[in-house]
Amino acid sequence: MKKGGSISIWFFIGISLLVNGVLICGAGIYQLFYPPQKELVLARLHAGVWWGAFLAIIGAVYCIHFVPNKDRR
């Protein structure tokens, strides 16, 4: 799967999911303590927290699995 050089596209995808996941989960946790003025529908489910955590975990797995030059170490 490492086509296009030593960095796999799946590593870039892992980075993207990890960064977005951390930001979304962090924003979700912040809203637990400081809820927004305009309440969202189904806000009680705290979708930002679990969806962000889910994306971050998937992203971390991809980053570790497809880390560049892993074979050389």
Partner: protein, 567 residues
């Protein structure tokens, strides 16, 4: 950051926070980083235009789907499902899956074995230079126009949803696409399309999940739609017996023969925008598996596109209307259903990812158009008709410059559309004129060795001309709809279906008739191009789970099951 936040303070559907903007900016940085990283791997023509023909089945398959997912798909079809109900899912199932499987199992071997770099390139090998010239010039012209229309549509969406200035949106998106495609060529476009595909799912998947929870599951959704609109909106086939029994005004014959047999076959098997992605596969098995993987995911796309539209119909308090009425009354149009659902459930962070998904969708479509234009312009027009004997480096340089020029023309088209909005309808109609007859020409070329060069050219020309003629006939005399679409009740989409069917049939009839009275090519010249004189390479000994036909059968069974479940 403050400037960006301030720019988004006009009338708008959603309000972005700082974390949303960080997510959007990070996306732009990442796609540019991929372009710069891949710059060093796009030095030869094979690298720049064909991504080195070394993509795995997964990368080629996801890119194949992503290039299509961009062009107004997310917003447009979510709006269509609000307007027409689940009938819109036909464009994802019967309007895609059989064609993708047909491409994988029947047509891909000939595209791949012939080592062509494009669909017009195949026509040159099979039917000669006139057919290639006709198809390449039409394709290049239409592609940049479509790219411009997509660009304008994206800028309009960002203006409505975020309040962003149209000029700013056009500039930032087009410059980004131009940079990463010009630097890394097709490989960069493909890599970014795979990234964009994942982001689209990550950003859009939460809406149907939360929407189904709110609606009380599928049965709750159906009950609400039956109350708010009509029970017909949740049936895929049972209302298609008569033109005026369903919200789309279409008959099942139009869906099966017009959409399923002609339009989708034409688009998924001969539109170079999508076929180019599969041609980049590393071997024949990967090239056959790529459209099958794409088909598997295509079946799931209604979950993030059609379902949100249905959920909007069931759950939104405001009634959405057509674009013209929305402008006149200040209300929301059908096309805004997806952002409205996004704003309903998504807070800071999730909103940024959802908007990134929309931007990613539009950019993948734009990059798909631009990279396909670049290849056809450089190989099928510039090298074939203008400068035949230049070096490989010269053509790569031409590829980079034509990327920039293609984007510049697209920007011009975007502003043209802004002033003359009816151009959008005309260009989309023009695009459909060419695809249906092209399918007839390529199919006969691959499966019938008696088809001659003259037959291929005149069939393609007659099919295209007849399609334009039928369109003009209905424009000048709307009552002609009863002949073209077989019913005076038929609407625009139904007319497109039947026009495609007739133009493809005319193409086939003319190709056969002319071929029978002209000299065919000798068998020796048809090797690798036509069924019956081409030896398809063996896949070797691989397990059943690695064979394309097995996965095509799995996809086929699920496709049939979905149609029965939502009958």
């Amino acid at each position: 950051m403050t400037l960006l936040l301030a720019a988004a303070n006009a009338s708008r559907l959603v309000h972005l926070s700082t974390v949303d903007l960080v997510i959007i900016i990070f996306y732009f940085i990442l796609v540019l980083a991929i372009g710069f990283y891949l710059k060093g791997q796009a030095n030869t023509g094979e690298d720049f235009f064909m991504a080195g023909r070394e993509m795995t089945a997964w990368i080629a398959g996801l890119s194949f789907l992503s290039a299509n997912l961009g062009s107004l798909e997310l917003m447009g079809w979510a709006g269509a499902s609000y307007q027409y109900g689940i009938l819109a899912a036909h464009w994802y199932w019967i309007g895609a899956i059989p064609a993708m499987l047909f491409l994988a199992l029947v047509m891909m071997p000939f595209y791949y074995i012939s080592k062509t770099h494009s669909v017009p390139g195949y026509l040159k090998l099979r039917f000669g230079e006139p057919s290639r010239a006709l198809s390449s010039v039409s394709f290049a012209f239409m592609t940049v126009l479509m790219s411009g229309i997509n660009m304008y549509s994206m800028a309009l969406v960002l203006k409505i949803v975020l309040g962003w200035d149209i000029n700013f949106s056009i500039l930032i998106s087009s410059v980004t696409v131009a940079i990463y495609v010009a630097l890394g060529g097709l490989r960069s476009a493909i890599f970014n399309e795979v990234l964009q595909f994942i982001l689209i799912w990550a950003g859009a998947l939460l809406i149907p999940i939360l929407g189904l929870i709110e609606a009380g599951g599928w049965s709750g959704l159906k009950a609400r739609i039956a109350t708010n609109a009509s029970a017909e909106y949740t049936h895929l086939w049972s209302t298609l017996g008569k033109f005026n029994d369903n919200p789309m005004g279409i008959h099942w014959t139009g869906i099966v023969f017009g959409l399923g047999a002609i339009i989708s076959m034409g688009y998924w098997t001969t539109d170079f925008l999508v076929v180019q992605r599969v041609l980049s596969a590393k071997d024949l098995r990967a090239a056959k598996m790529a459209p099958i993987i794409g088909a598997g995911f295509k079946m799931l796309v209604p979950f993030i596109v059609i379902l949100p539209g249905l959920l909007g119909l069931a759950l939104l308090d405001t009634k959405l209307v057509g674009e013209t009425q929305a402008v006149a009354t200040g209300g929301h149009s059908y096309n805004e259903v997806l952002p409205l659902m996004l704003a309903r459930y998504c807070g800071p962070g999730l909103l940024g990812l959802g908007i990134t998904a929309l931007i990613a969708g539009f950019m993948s479509g734009m990059a798909g158009n631009v990279s396909a234009f670049t290849t056809v312009w450089t190989y099928d027009i510039y090298r074939a008709l203008i400068k035949k004997d230049a070096s490989d480096a010269h053509y790569v340089s031409m590829g980079r410059w034509s990327t920039v020029v293609g984007v510049a023309i697209s920007i011009g088209t975007a502003y043209l559309v802004m002033d003359f909005k009816s151009i959008m309808d005309y260009v989309q109609a023009l695009f459909s004129f060419f695809i249906a007859p092209l399918f007839g020409t390529v199919l006969l070329g691959m499966l019938w060795k008696r088809a001659s060069s003259a037959g291929g050219f005149w069939g393609l020309l007659a099919g295209t001309a007849s399609s334009v003629g039928m369109w003009a006939w209905v424009k000048m005399d709307p009552s002609a709809l009863r002949y073209v679409a077989l019913s005076p009740y038929a609407r625009d989409m139904a007319e497109n279906m039947y026009r495609a069917l007739w133009s493809c049939l005319i193409c086939v009839i003319v190709t056969v008739a002319v071929s029978l009275v002209t000299k065919p090519k000798p068998d020796a010249e048809l090797k690798g191009l036509v069924y019956g004189v081409t030896e398809i390479p063996s896949e070797g000994y691989v397990s059943t789970l690695q064979r394309p036909w097995f996965w095509a059968a799995v996809v086929g069974v699920i496709f049939v099951a979905l149609n029965i479940i939502f009958w």
